[in-house]
Point group: C2
Chain length 210, copies 2
Amino acid sequence: MTDNYPVEHAVAASMADGSANTGIIPFGTGSELLSRDRLDAFTHTRLWKNPCGFAARFNYLALRYNQPLYSWVEQEFGLSRVEFVVIYSLALMDGVTASEIASSTAFPKNTLSRAVNRLAKLGYIGRSTQAMDRRMQYLSLTPFGQAIYDAALPRFVAFEQEMLAPLSLVEQETLNALMAKVMLAMFAEDTKDDSEGDHERHPALVKHGA
Amino acid sequence: MTDNYPVEHAVAASMADGSANTGIIPFGTGSELLSRDRLDAFTHTRLWKNPCGFAARFNYLALRYNQPLYSWVEQEFGLSRVEFVVIYSLALMDGVTASEIASSTAFPKNTLSRAVNRLAKLGYIGRSTQAMDRRMQYLSLTPFGQAIYDAALPRFVAFEQEMLAPLSLVEQETLNALMAKVMLAMFAEDTKDDSEGDHERHPALVKHGA
DNA sequence: AAAAATTAGTTCCACAAGGAATTGACTACC
DNA sequence: GGTAGTCAATTCCTTGTGGAACTAATTTTT
């Protein structure tokens, strides 16, 4: 299924000699490879001939999903990615605080502080502190903020569906279930690690690394 | 399977009234929700009660994979993410050029230029131009660069396997196949769009957005 | 064959990101 | 019940990012 790509194999074969150290590259002797082909060949190698191919692939998926959507948000609403993430988060769960969004999404909290300030100044969100703990401020969407979410959401949903369209509904469910299985194991790992936690970074992150 | 999470439901239920506009949040009346529970509840909502849940989930996976690994690379080798991506790319396919990496990975080309310059200065990569087209410089790993890759790769592979460990081999294959199906459709879309291309951004990107 | 357009890489510059220290509010300890 | 430790949010400041303009090499157009 992934082998309908003769160009890349030719390239790989043509580089199987010791050209790496000499700096002499066996390209260009003939111009049989256009630059577009070279690019495709490299992308193909990155995604399919990669010892961490799985990681490369879902990175690629995430990139291909986010990049167009967030650049559209930027143009359409003048909001940065973090800023829109705040709006989106509040639409999902009203009353969440800045540091909760920070911890959950791994944006640094000062970045979030700026985003929250700007959104509040623009009138898209409101803050409210409560007597019980006056440190944290519960955020909520104003009607203006809600309107932005309402205007943006359809495109996000449509794009996701467009991406998943090549899969049948059963396949989509399978994909979701498998990803869920991976993620639930991650969560289990997280809570297990808490008993011996040392680091002081994002609670939702790190854990495995260093 | 995803419903063993009573806290989140309680939260959602307690916010089903019109508190968004008033700014009054129904928390804090009792302290039954610890902040950790709130965070987990929000993360849970983000991932499972999200109209773009699939996107949210693979974004989360990508984040959870990249963040620890690249911060380890930073500490261990003093290389930024882009810089390591260059090394990794050359290990995968020697002789690739800076702009090919840029197009394929969606890093801006000036960022890549800087990364390449630094790596060359550090002696990790070599450049070579060819008479045929003296604009582009073919990059290749030096033994030092290769050594870094060799030192880093096992951790990347191990971490990927650790992540996939909760799945059986068959499940891993299924997951890969489904993701492959999605991505191949993307590629097909890309080449199809070329016949009417207008935009001038990364050729491997955009397309769907704006 | 000269002029216009395209492409690889670099440089410039304004701005945003994020680490680290700070303030204000709360909690735990002894 | 006072002091040390923690936590949410902000501010400071350095660095890196990435858009845009630029140079040099090559291709295409007419």
